[in-house]
Structures are given as structure tokens and as C-alpha cells.
């Protein structure tokens, strides 16, 4: 496989085919818990993306020196170090968002999507590809978070970018869009059950699109064998 098509494949896998949120269903806890508003979703998505890129690069860089027997604790330590950095940075620069994300920021350490990529891809591949893979997987995860956050915020409060100033600074409060206003909020969309229902619809939507595409192109592709180990971690 040439390097170019390797990158293409990595993007395809991370953003759509093997999306951590929609297909692997990893990191569901933060995915469902913090996506009450678009701003929260972007904040957590960016934090996860940053950690994923850095941890993938580091894991890949030291892959030849890590003994196989203790690799998981080492990966966890690396991830925890980066999460701590991100947490301190957010504490310093986006304090409001740091507070509204709460416990879910340090909990990125236990996000299976990150350790899954470290184990399944980064520990077996060179730094460049591993970093790119982290970027694509992180983007895929962040996109799902953002869609979910946007849907829930619109349904729940009728707004978009509510509290964007917490993430981007004071100027960003002009970003707040009031799509429609209710007398009473649709609380279900903001509560956890609404997150599960919305997530179910997102996954169903993705499957429907896949089925539609598959139906539109009947057997054009020859059987390409993709030499790639897809490891799905439970957690």
C-alpha cells in the first residue's frame, strides 16, 4: 500500500467507516454526558483530539523500547500525562468551560477510544502515520460530539453556541443563535435518556446512509483485501 493511499484509508476509517463514536461506540460516557450544548461538545472534542494526537505520537515513538508485558500501564501513564496538561491548560485559559465539563475532563484518561488507538494502531506503526491516525480518529470523535451537542442543544433549549464565550473568550457571546424559543424547555433532550435516543438515531442514520450507498453501487468494487487489524475494545 502506498503512503498516500494509507493516509486516505486512515482518514476514511477515522471519520466514517470505523468512527470511534458511531461504529466502535467507544468513549460513550463523555459522549453522552457532556453533549448538552454545542460549546461543551466542542470543548471536550478538542481536548480529546489533542490528547489522542499526542498520545498516539508518543506511543508510536517509543514503541520499540516498551516491553510487551507492561505496555498497557505505560500507555495509560502517557495518556494521563497529556490529559493533565490539557486539563491544566483549560483550567488556565477556559475556566468556565473547565467548570462545566467537570469530572469528564480528567476522565478522558479512561476513554477507550484513546487507549484503543494506542494499542491497535500507534504501537505498531511509525510516528507519522500514528499521529495522522490520532488526528483522524479524534476528528471523527469530535464531529460526533458536535453533531450530538448541536442536536440536543437545539431540541432542548432552541439555541446554538450558547455559552460559546466560555470556550472562545468574551467576543464569542455574539455567536449565540436563538433558533426558536419555548416557554418551557424540552428537558428530555438535555437529560441523559435524550442523549441515548439521539445517539441511537445518529447511528441509525449512519447505517441508513451506508445501506443507501451500498444499494446505489451494486458490486462495482472488486474484492480488495484491506490488511488492517480492526480491534474493538470493550469499555
Amino acid at each position: 500500500m502506498t503512503e498516500r493511499s494509507e493516509y486516505k484509508e486512515l482518514s476514511w476509517q477515522g471519520l466514517w467507516k470505523n468512527n470511534p463514536g458511531l461504529v466502535q461506540l467507544l468513549g460513550l460516557c463523555p459522549l453522552l454526558a457532556v453533549t448538552t450544548t454545542l460549546t461543551n461538545a466542542i470543548g471536550l472534542g478538542l481536548a480529546t483530539l489533542l490528547v489522542l494526537v499526542c498520545s498516539n505520537a508518543t506511543v508510536s515513538a517509543i514503541r520499540n523500547w516498551v516491553p510487551k508485558e507492561v505496555r498497557i500501564p505505560i500507555f495509560v501513564l502517557i495518556i494521563a500525562a497529556f490529559v493533565t496538561c490539557v486539563q491544566l491548560l483549560m483550567n488556565a485559559y477556559t475556566f468556565g468551560l473547565y467548570q462545566s465539563l467537570g469530572i469528564f475532563l480528567p476522565l478522558i484518561v479512561t476513554n477507550c477510544a484513546i487507549i484503543g488507538r494506542a494499542e491497535a494502531y500507534a504501537s505498531k506503526n511509525p510516528v507519522k502515520q500514528a499521529t495522522f491516525d490520532g488526528l483522524m480518529m479524534g476528528l471523527g470523535f469530535a464531529l460526533v460530539l458536535m453533531v450530538l451537542g448541536a442536536v440536543r442543544e437545539i431540541l432542548g433549549q432552541g439555541t446554538l453556541f450558547d455559552g460559546a464565550d466560555l470556550l472562545l473568550g468574551d467576543w464569542a457571546s455574539v455567536l449565540r443563535i436563538e433558533i426558536f424559543s419555548f416557554d418551557s424547555k424540552f428537558l428530555l433532550a438535555i437529560l441523559p435518556p435524550g442523549a441515548f435516543i439521539a445517539m441511537g438515531f445518529l447511528i441509525a442514520g449512519k447505517n441508513a446512509i451506508d445501506a443507501y450507498i451500498a444499494k446505489k453501487q451494486p458490486k462495482v468494487e472488486t474484492d480488495k483485501t484491506i490488511e488492517r487489524v480492526r480491534v474493538n475494545f470493550e469499555g
Binding site: S184, F186, L187, L188, A189, L191, P193, I197
Partner: protein
């Protein structure tokens, strides 16, 4: 399981789905009548709205799913779901509450799971819970019993109130809910719960006019109405008597235990039987053939679990009534209950 061997001619009991559903709908009439008598035309308006939206949603989703619309509409299951939603929604709730509930019940709870016979949860109760946690304010605004109101509300005013939020003369829901003394009225269950947290005893709380002379003005008759309809259903063998018997019996046991331990802070069994949605739940909702347990032993367990949950949530929970929550939680437990209550297969020893 017993096999009775009977010689021919065999008489087929014509228990097809449509006739069963129609019969259940008719059996709800005494309860609905009592609700209309005490809570005014709002009840009828809500039921009509709920049935309308439920049927429309059923037609829409069946069309999307490419199913035979005519045969599935005429089985009256959507009408029954609508009826149950209309009964449980407060009579003064705005129309969009009922619409959201009906569409959610049919679209998400029933059709997304595969239609009638495949739904894990009771559609009407799932919709009720959705509404209750999403719109707590509107969903708890029950109108006080007619006799406690300043003036009667006409049918037209009630319709107008549901559609616009104000009566024709411009009174809001809050103003309507004021009693003669100018105090907003709650349901008996709600009142009792609030009073107990304020440190009153049950007897002191019962001095409140919402309780009337017996258990709860109006509510007792609504429950008796549903009890009558339910007994009719049992007499005609439309529902299994085990579920209501186990439910009401367990509720009796639990409330009796609590009453013997602390009579001042526990309401009597009669209060639990005849307030809120107890009878509706016991005879019309827990007995839903799709989402209830299927074996005899399983049904006893299922209904007893529901009674325990109802009692615990009413006594310790944050919401005043608990039928809907208890039913949903029990629906979730049904596969497990059925797994462990499998009857012995004929010809085999013990549990397979």
C-alpha cells in the same frame, strides 16, 4: 402447563386483536366517565386529541415502513394507546403535550421497535414518562375537582384552554387551578407528599379539601370506575386476573407493613388503592399482553415488583405518582423474569 384434552366440536374463542382492543377500550368507559364528571370536559378533549394524533402517527409510520395500513389501523391498538395517554395527561395540559406524547408513543416506542407485538415498553406509559420528565410543570397541573372550582368551565372554554392556554374570557391555567380560597390545588398524592415533608401527619393532611370526605375527592371515583371496567375485563377473560390481583395484593402488603411501622407518616392501603393511577395501572396498563410477563409465576412476580416500586416511589421518590415509572422498570425486567419462570416443558423433568 396443563393440557386439557377435549373432544370435538371445538369452539373457537374469537379473541382476535381488534375485538380484544375494542373491548378494552369500552371497559375504560366507566373510569373515563368518572374523570369527565369530576375533572370536566378537558379529559374528553385530551382523549380526543391523543387518539387523533396516535392514529395519524400510526398511519404515517406505517406508510413509511411500507406496511398494510388498513389492517393495522383497524386493530384499534393505536386508539387504545391514544386513549391511555389521554386519560393520564392532566386535563388542562396544552395540546402540544398530548401531541408529542402520542407521536412519541407510536413512532418511537411502538413502530421503531417493530410495531404491535414487538414493543418492549408500554407505549402509553413510556410517552407519559417522557412528558413528565420533560415538562414537569404542565404535566402536574391537574385541575381541581369541579366542585372545588370557582365556576364551571364549559366544553368550549376547556377546548380553548387546551389549544391556546387561556379560556375564552382570558383566564390562564394557573387562575383556573385556584380554589375558592385562592390557593393552587394539587392532586391528593401530591398534597400528601408535600404535607408529610412539612412535618404534618397523615390525619392532619387529610383535613385539606382535596381529600374530600374519603380518600381523594374525585380520584376515588375515577379509580372505582377503572376497577369496575377491569373486573368486567377479567369476567370476560380479556385480561389475566393474576396481574391485578398480585399488584393490588402486594400493594396492600407493602402499605400495611409501612402503616404498622409508622402510622403517622404512611397513608392507608385504601389511599394507595384509590388514588393516582393505581386501578388504571393494575387493570389496563400492567396487563398489556405485549410488554407484560408471559408465565403465571412470572406475572405474579412482575406485578409484585411493580407494586413494590409504586410504593417506594410514592413514599420516597421525587414524583407524586409512580405507576408509569414502575411499569417501565418492570417492562425492562420482563425478559429476565421470563427467563427464570419458564414453565416445565411437557415430558421433561424440572426446569430445562
Amino acid at each position: 402447563m396443563t393440557f386439557w384434552i377435549a373432544s370435538s366440536p371445538h369452539n373457537h374463542i374469537k379473541a382476535a386483536t381488534p375485538s380484544l382492543m375494542r373491548f378494552v377500550i369500552m371497559a375504560a368507559i366507566p373510569g373515563v366517565f368518572a374523570q369527565w364528571y369530576f375533572f370536566g370536559w378537558g379529559t374528553i378533549v385530551q382523549i380526543a386529541l391523543a387518539i387523533l394524533f396516535a392514529v395519524l402517527a400510526e398511519i404515517t409510520f406505517l406508510a413509511i415502513r411500507d406496511k398494510n395500513i388498513k389492517s393495522q389501523i383497524t386493530d384499534f391498538s393505536a386508539v387504545l394507546t391514544g386513549l391511555l395517554i389521554g386519560i393520564s395527561v392532566p386535563s388542562l395540559a396544552p395540546w402540544w403535550i398530548t401531541a408529542i406524547g402520542s407521536i412519541f408513543a407510536i413512532g418511537v416506542v411502538k413502530q421503531l421497535y417493530g410495531g404491535l407485538g414487538f414493543n418492549l415498553f408500554n407505549p402509553a406509559m413510556a410517552a407519559y414518562v417522557l412528558l413528565l420528565i420533560s415538562f414537569p410543570l404542565q404535566m402536574t397541573s391537574w385541575q381541581p375537582v369541579n366542585s372545588l372550582l370557582v365556576d364551571d368551565i364549559s366544553f368550549f372554554n376547556n377546548l380553548w384552554l387546551v389549544l391556546t392556554g387561556y379560556t375564552w374570557e382570558g383566564f390562564s391555567v394557573e387562575q383556573i387551578r385556584m380554589s375558592v380560597d385562592g390557593i393552587t390545588m394539587a392532586t391528593p398524592l401530591d398534597t400528601l407528599k408535600t404535607d408529610l415533608t412539612l412535618g404534618l401527619t397523615v390525619n392532619e393532611s387529610f383535613a385539606n379539601p382535596v381529600f374530600g370526605e374519603f380518600i381523594g375527592l374525585g380520584w376515588e371515583w375515577v379509580n372505582i370506575g377503572f376497577l369496575l371496567g377491569g373486573l368486567l375485563l377479567i369476567a370476560k377473560k380479556a385480561i389475566d386476573w393474576v396481574i391485578p390481583a398480585s399488584f393490588l395484593g402486594s400493594l396492600l402488603i407493602f402499605s400495611f407493613i409501612a402503616y404498622t411501622i409508622s402510622p403517622d407518616s404512611s397513608a392507608s392501603t385504601m389511599f394507595h388503592w384509590l388514588s393516582g393511577g393505581t386501578m388504571l395501572g393494575a387493570f389496563f396498563i400492567l396487563t398489556d399482553p405485549v410488554s407484560a410477563a408471559t408465565t403465571k409465576k412470572g406475572r405474579v412476580l412482575y406485578a409484585a415488583l411493580a407494586a413494590l416500586l409504586v410504593y417506594l416511589i410514592r413514599k420516597f421518590g421525587g414524583y407524586p405518582d409512580a405507576i408509569a415509572f414502575a411499569v417501565l422498570l418492570c417492562n425492562m425486567a420482563v425478559p429476565l423474569i421470563d427467563q427464570y419462570c419458564r414453565p416445565r416443558t411437557y415430558g421433561h423433568k424440572g426446569v430445562n
